[in-house]
Amino acid sequence: MIDAIGGVASVLLPWVAGTYAVRALWRRAPAVPGVLAVGYGYLVGAFAATCTMRALSLAGMRWNLPVLAGAMIVLGAIAWWLARRTAPADGPSPGLRQALAAEPPVLRWLFRIALALVAIRLAGLAVDVLAAPLRGYDQWAHWATKARVWFEHGRMVPFVSSDMWLARGDPALFTDGNPGHPGTIPLLQAWTATFLGAWNESLINLPWIALAIALPVAFFAQARLAGASAPLAMVAAWLLMSLPVLDGHIAVAGAADIFMGAAYGLAAMAAWRWSVTREAPMAWLAAIVAVAGLAIKVEGVLWMATLVPGVVVALSRRAGLVLAGAAVIAFAGWLAFGPARLPMMGYALLSRPINVLPTLIDHVLVFDNWHLAAYALVAIVAWRWRILLAPRLAPMTMTMAAAVGLVVVVYFFTPAAVGVADETLVNRFLLHLAPALAFYALLLCVEGRERPGDQPSLQATNAADA
């Protein structure tokens, strides 16, 4: 019982604080939909929780439950105070119930079925998370190692490479399978363990369940803002949450990939939304989630960099397209004239590709790792190719083009190709892209149609576009 209370509190405190923090961003603007605040709230709150732990560590204070819980309550209270409405109300926006009531019965049923399917899936995955100890090499060799040590010490202690560990001989230094990973994920596990009061190898993975709930909520909210009807948005959320690789990474909790994918997806959706409405709070939200993503995995910097082309296109479409063309030409020049191997950010960039296409095709188009997503994406892009660079879509198109380019470069032009060929990396890296790509596919479907979910600010933008 104590475990249950501690576990629930460890998730709810940052979630509530994060939700109010998101709402506070909109304190001088028309109200943000509550669903959006809840969806983004967990990631924002969890990131704030890890920042608190980092700060305490830096200050030399040992983590303990009263301090951590107190910090989160104070943060939540400040956010709540800031979130009080100061901006004039825009009039009541239609709620979900009203939106559904306006749909034909068959679509209302579709909404309910999709919602039920998401709930059933998440319930089953939660059983796996709550029952099992850590499974999967990365989980116990790269991530929870730090969480276990930091929880024991009540603070962050340094992890170094095994060579340095041997050479320095300092008993204050620790090592593991990947000491270079950022600390966010192990901090989340240590956070939960602190609330539990003990190391529990199943319950420390509660953040994975929380994220699995927050991700479809945020996706649904952004889909509604993008103009999808409630049934369509809910079906899209179900399609996303039914992806086997995504489900697998929730079930085998403890690795960072699902967090990376969620952070990138949430940042990309918010960045696109900003590109359409130019709402400053949405830009702040995108920036906060992007920064959180940087602290999840080393690759976070690469993924978040792919948001830049979209932002540039949003600010100046011509400049963005010129820059994109220049990047493509530069890469072609690199392939033609570059050295065989160029060290970059701890990796090596190769100018001669490694052919991992057969493995990639198998895992994307033949094995049921992504259901029909790849087929659907190709079909949707072929169907809607004329609007890919339309003013509203161009920013997201450029972001997705950059992200796909990143996948191509990593898979074919770096030694990571070995990981793709031996099937350890092939789906994990794509998972980072999946939520954002799913949202892009939805955008391609709904763009050009009636957009009942538009906010007044977006309607003004649409009018300006017209």
């Binding site: 999967g136 040590v149 041997l166 489900d247 198998d362």
Partner: protein, 398 residues
């Protein structure tokens, strides 16, 4: 391609039924195409398979022993090859093309498998085909191999490369490629549970590599056929393509593959609960498939020794040392990089460091002299904490 996006009127029940029938029909056609592409010329396969139990096999090269129903290859021959021969009566290659060797759950990295056979017309020649295998049954489809022809007189499994751990072969089977057997195999594989051992949960469906026809392309083909039919019919009638029908076909296809995935997940959830739920952490680890590794780690963890210092877990097997290391956290554990051996030099060890030697050749514990002895003769004095023959020792540096 252009699809009209004009809003469709709410479809009638009859139109829904029509789309359902179209989906079912398209799926049947796609499945029939998949079976036809994989099947041989015969409609009925009798018998459906030729099976040989492992205990009936013999090692023509290397050393093997029979263990229950399986044969266990323990060492390779002098030429670095082990050859396990399965006694079979002659059979027609055209009728039997899908070969499966039921190999034990795992093999070490670097172990390679090759299918070997002889034919009546081959005049004593031996033919081979590499088997791409990582875990579970090793399956190879020889229907496109031109040398798999005529009357097959003998089959064998060649094992080459490294054999750090013995390999168990439970049996050999070769499936008929008749239409009915192929259809049965395809559907059976779609419904089987890909979790092949006790520990791993499913994070990707790479095991479908051994499926005769994986479900995804078949369903995608069915959906594509259905949509193509809608487009062609709409063009003929000069009407817009009904987007609701396209969406319904797509969602039906998605739901079908997801229903299969959901059943896989439910089986996984049930297995996870049965294996781990309600147990303490130690009990969970005892229930895991690598419980013997935890058993070793627990001996180290619970040994009478000083705590709070550094522990170096040294082994030639990277997985073994990493896993043992994990079980010892939150102590200050070293197990070296995963992809290269990394032995500390004697000078890098500090007094009080505890060293675990686990199936390692580069350093030995000389209990008589109270010394750790490196392969090049260097030594470091130490005190024994635990030891079990040459395979395992734990000492503290003095």
């Amino acid at each position: 391609m252009s699809i009209a996006t004009a809003p469709d009127a709410t479809p009638s029940r009859g139109r829904w039924a029509g789309v359902a029938a179209l989906f079912a029909g398209s799926l049947v056609v796609a499945l029939a195409v998949a079976v036809t592409l994989k099947a041989g010329p015969r409609l009925h396969g009798t018998p459906p398979s030729i099976d040989v139990a492992g205990k009936a096999m013999q090692a023509a090269k290397g050393r093997a022993r029979v263990d229950g129903q399986a044969i266990v290859l323990e060492t390779l021959g002098a030429d670095g090859v082990g050859l396990i021969v399965a006694p079979v009566a002659a059979f027609d290659a055209d009728d039997y093309t899908r070969v499966t060797w039921h190999i034990g759950p795992t093999a070490a990295r670097g172990t390679e498998f090759v299918m070997v056979w002889r034919t009546r017309d081959g005049r004593g020649r031996t033919f081979t085909a590499p088997i791409d295998w990582s875990s579970g049954p090793a399956t190879i489809d020889l229907s496109r191999n031109p040398e798999w022809s005529g009357s097959i007189q003998g089959v064998a499994l060649a094992v080459r490369g490294a054999l750090p751990v013995p390999i168990s072969i439970a049996g050999f089977s070769v499936r008929s490629n008749a239409w009915d057997v192929t259809l049965g195999d395809i559907v059976r594989q779609w419904l089987e549970w890909p979790r092949s051992d006790g520990r791993r949960a499913i994070t990707q469906l790479g095991s479908e590599a051994r499926h005769v026809a994986p479900v995804l392309p078949v369903v995608a083909g069915g959906v594509a056929l259905g949509i193509a039919f809608l487009i062609v019919r709409a063009r003929k009638r000069r009407l817009p393509v009904p987007t609701w029908a396209v969406a319904a076909l797509f969602l039906a296809g998605w739901m079908l593959v997801d229903l299969r995935w959901q059943t896989i997940l439910w089986r996984q959830h049930a297995a996870t609960v049965a294996q781990f739920a309600g147990k303490s952490l130690d009990e969970q680890r005892e229930a895991d498939s690598d419980a013997p590794i935890f058993d070793v780690a627990r001996k180290i963890r619970d040994a009478k020794r000083a705590h709070g210092g550094r522990i170096l877990v040294l082994s030639d097997n990277a997985h073994l040392r990493t896993r043992v290391g994990w079980f010892l956290y939150p102590e200050n554990v070293y197990y070296g990089p995963a992809h290269r051996p990394s032995l500390p030099s004697p000078e890098q060890l500090r007094p009080g460091d505890q060293v675990v030697l686990l199936l390692i050749r580069g350093i030995q514990w000389d209990a008589g002299r109270g010394m750790l002895v490196w392969a090049d003769g260097r030594t470091r004095a130490a005190r024994e904490i635990l030891s079990d023959g040459t395979a395992f020792a734990m000492v503290e540096i003095e």
